[in-house]
């Protein structure tokens, strides 16, 4: 998911406003130390609009996972301490700032701080910018939350991995759930932010709908700017349609503002809202979200996660530490770190328990399967560098008796049902009608 931070655009925008009114870095081949701690860079939004809903839960999840892994307290199959016995020493970096700044910070992490690996990045823009630098520096990098499918579809990468499925899964899952609820859907509309995440989400949703319900037509296609906050005109436009459903990949303040504003004007009484990233707002807004709203969590995370020992443990330690339930960015970070540990331990085992070199870890990571707190992750696409997993969607219900936000009618779609196969790009798969999708 690409997000623009405040500082990222501050200088550019203010400078632009003032104008209007005033009229060879050597590649560093990393090797893991043998008996020394493993330095791990953790990059996430610590300030700015994306910090609260995404960056901080991701950072907090990293804090817990690293602490518990070092103590050997994570349940099986991760009960061995650290990374193949080596203590993990994290260095936290704020993702806020321009994309150019993030590339500089990444270089600093690798070349100045000497991290052995980096787990991070919420913004798709930052992921796209950091990936070639990671390749240049031969720096093992695991993207934890960015959603753009383009990372591994444009060019094969060796040192970059993403244990979190990409955004196509969210849109395909949403389309399948919508058509389960509204099998005779005649028309639908969408409101998505006017940048990579919003545009890609809407494009994939429309493509999936065309494949699954060719007769359903698009009424309104709205793309307000990121962080617009005010959606009065867009809500009016949606009120003038006959759409049964309105798709939105909104997140953060825009999502909450839109929910409040459209609720006050009665839009949900005319159209069922579909929020693919709605889970991050449901606890904060509670009863402000109308019952029946379709909610996604970019995977089977949070309240839609299965009741496994690993998930129960993760939720427990997270809630004990931070007095709030982990939302999907926390799950994304946890599964990314567990993916790294799985690969690291596997590489070490192949060397008879010795600390592996980074290239050994990379080799072990490719195509690996491992358990996350909410689902099994298979690094099945992107030449073994991109994970796929199941996804779940459900309908919101506010439990008035307990004053609690709940998800009901949860449907879990298998990974092969909502993700493209290894030999196709997302767009090609969607345009071909999602051939080979296995949904049973």
């Amino acid at each position: 998911m690409q997000r623009t931070s405040v500082r990222a655009c501050l200088a550019r925008k203010v400078s632009a406003a003032l104008l209007l009114t005033a009229l060879p870095v050597a590649a560093v081949a990393q090797t893991a130390p043998t008996a020394e701690p493993v330095k791990l860079g953790i990059v996430s939004f610590l300030t700015g609009p994306a910090a609260g809903p995404f960056g901080i839960p991701g950072r907090n999840s990293a804090e817990i996972m690293i602490e518990m892994l070092n103590a050997g307290k994570v349940p099986a199959p991760y009960a061995t301490p650290g990374l193949a016995g080596a203590k993990i020493v994290p260095k936290y970096v704020d993702e806020a700032g321009s994309t150019a700044n993030q590339v500089t910070e990444f270089r600093n992490l690798v070349q100045r701080d000497g991290v052995n690996a980096t787990v991070g990045y919420v913004s798709s823009g930052n992921c796209l910018a950091v990936a070639p630098v990671a390749e240049e520096l031969k720096a093992l990098t695991v993207f934890f939350d960015c959603g753009t499918p383009r990372i591994f579809e444009e060019k094969p990468l060796k040192y970059v991995f993403r244990a979190t499925p990409h955004a196509t899964m969210d849109s395909v899952g949403a389309a399948r759930y919508v058509l389960k609820k509204f099998p005779d859907l005649a028309s639908y509309s969408g409101i998505n932010q006017n940048y990579a995440w919003g545009q890609d989400s809407w494009r994939d949703f429309v493509a999936a709908m065309k494949a699954l319900a060719p007769k359903a037509t698009v009424d309104k296609e709205l793309l307000p700017k990121l962080f617009a906050g005010e959606f009065g005109a867009e809500i009016s436009a949606l009120l003038t349609t006959n759409s049964k459903i309105v798709h939105s990949s909104f997140w953060n303040g825009d999502l909450e503002s839109f929910i409040v504003q459209n609720g006050a004007r009665g839009l949900p009484a005319r159209s069922t809202m579909v929020y693919t990233a709605g889970e991050t707002a449901m606890f904060r807004l509670g009863g402000k979200i109308p019952d029946g709203t379709i909610i996604g969590a970019r995977g089977p995370h949070g309240v839609m996660a299965p009741d496994t020992p690993l998930n129960k443990w993760f939720r427990g330690v997270y809630e004990d530490r931070f007095a709030t339930a982990p939302t999907y960015p926390a799950y994304h970070m946890a599964q990314s770190i567990l993916g790294l540990k799985s690969a690291w331990d596997k590489a070490a085992a192949a060397k008879g328990g010795q600390q592996p070199a980074i290239d050994d870890v990379v080799k072990a990571f490719e195509g690996i399967e491992f358990e996350g707190p909410s689902a099994k992750i298979r690094m099945a696409i992107g030449n073994g560098h991109q994970g796929i997993a199941d996804i779940a969607y459900g309908s919101f219900r506010f439990n008035k008796a307990e004053g609690k936000a709940e998800i009901v009618d949860v449907v879990r779609y298998p990974a092969e049902c909502v993700n493209p196969p290894a030999n196709m790009t997302s767009t090609a798969w969607l345009e071909a009608g999602m051939p080979g999708a296995k949904c049973n």
Binding site: A22, G52, A233
Partner: protein
């Protein structure tokens, strides 16, 4: 027909919001010749202060009507405090310096205040929706409209009338006009320019904070709020003419109606429409629509 109603009402609501935000900016520029980038910080602090005040107020189960008073009180209080500190501690020391220097100082203050805001309120968003949702809605031509939004249009209209009356009919307004035309001459005639500056800056700061406070019930109040707003406010002021109250009103109306028209008719051009209309105006009137003629000094 419903589309026409929607374009007009949406345009007016957006224009009202823009006007409330931009009027303080244009006032400060008109009188003090300061392009106040920190105006975005007044807006953001106003929004946070209002969100906090609304939270405290409604947590006690007090009547809804008083919530609107809480918004106004929070905005006035935070605007006065911030305006006073910034004017006395920073700006007073640079009056008479090159305008670019003063702009850079307000830009620096804006950046600092963005971080101060995070230190005070943290990184999590804040919600204070009660005044907006409790106000209810009504229907015009089949289109549901928010009472709060229409109330905002009324408030902006009253603000425009009050500003016009103050400038044209009151003693302070005449003093203000004298300082706007020529600070040195006004001072030579005994006008306490320093006092006029302080009062102007305080009023501008309160208006900026009020813009944020009135917006707070509609949105999730998050860090970075002031960045987007300051850019839009500059666009409105540029269209209307720097320092012109009438210009701010007309600029806000133009931007509001063009944007609403774009959203309903060509949604892909929403953002483009705002800046296209600004560019168009500036091509023919580089000084803005209502910029007054500058007397030549000998």
């Amino acid at each position: 027909m419903i589309t026409v109603i929607a374009i007009v009402t949406d345009g007016l609501v957006y224009a009202a919001w823009l006007f409330v935000v931009a009027i303080g900016l244009t006032l400060i520029f008109g009188v003090m010749k300061i392009l106040n980038v920190a105006h975005g910080a007044f807006y953001a602090f106003g929004a946070y202060a209002a969100a906090t005040a609304i939270g405290l107020y409604f947590d006690r189960g007090w009547p809804v009507a008083g919530g609107y008073l809480a918004i106004a009180t929070a905005a006035i209080a935070i605007g006065l405090v911030m305006g006073y500190i910034l004017e006395r501690v920073f700006l007073r020391r640079v009056y008479g310096r090159d305008e670019v220097v003063v702009v850079l100082i307000t830009y620096a203050l804006f950046l600092i205040l963005e971080d101060v805001l995070i230190l005070i309120w943290g990184t999590d968003g804040r919600s204070a929706y009660q005044p907006y949702t409790e106000a209810g809605s009504f229907t015009v031509g089949g289109l549901p409209l928010s009472v709060y939004d229409i109330g905002l249009v009324g408030f902006a209209g009253l603000l425009a009338i009050a500003a016009s009356y103050t400038i044209k009919k009151t003693t302070f307004g005449r003093l203000l006009t004298a300082v706007i035309y020529d600070r040195e001459t006004a001072a030579a005639f005994g006008v306490d320019v320093s006092r006029v500056y302080t009062v102007t800056f305080l009023v501008g700061a309160v208006l900026g904070a009020l813009g944020g406070a009135l917006t707070a019930p509609k949105i999730s109040v998050t860090p970075g709020l002031g960045v987007e707003v300051i850019v839009l406010a500059f666009a409105v002021v540029a269209i209307g003419g720097m320092g012109s109250m009438e210009g701010a009103l007309v600029g806000a109306l133009i931007v509001g109606l063009f944007r609403a028209g774009a959203v309903h008719l060509i949604p892909q051009l929403e953002l483009f429409s705002i800046y296209a209309v600004m560019a168009l105006v500036l091509v023919f009137r580089p000084q803005g629509l209502f910029s007054r003629a500058q007397p030549r000094k000998i």
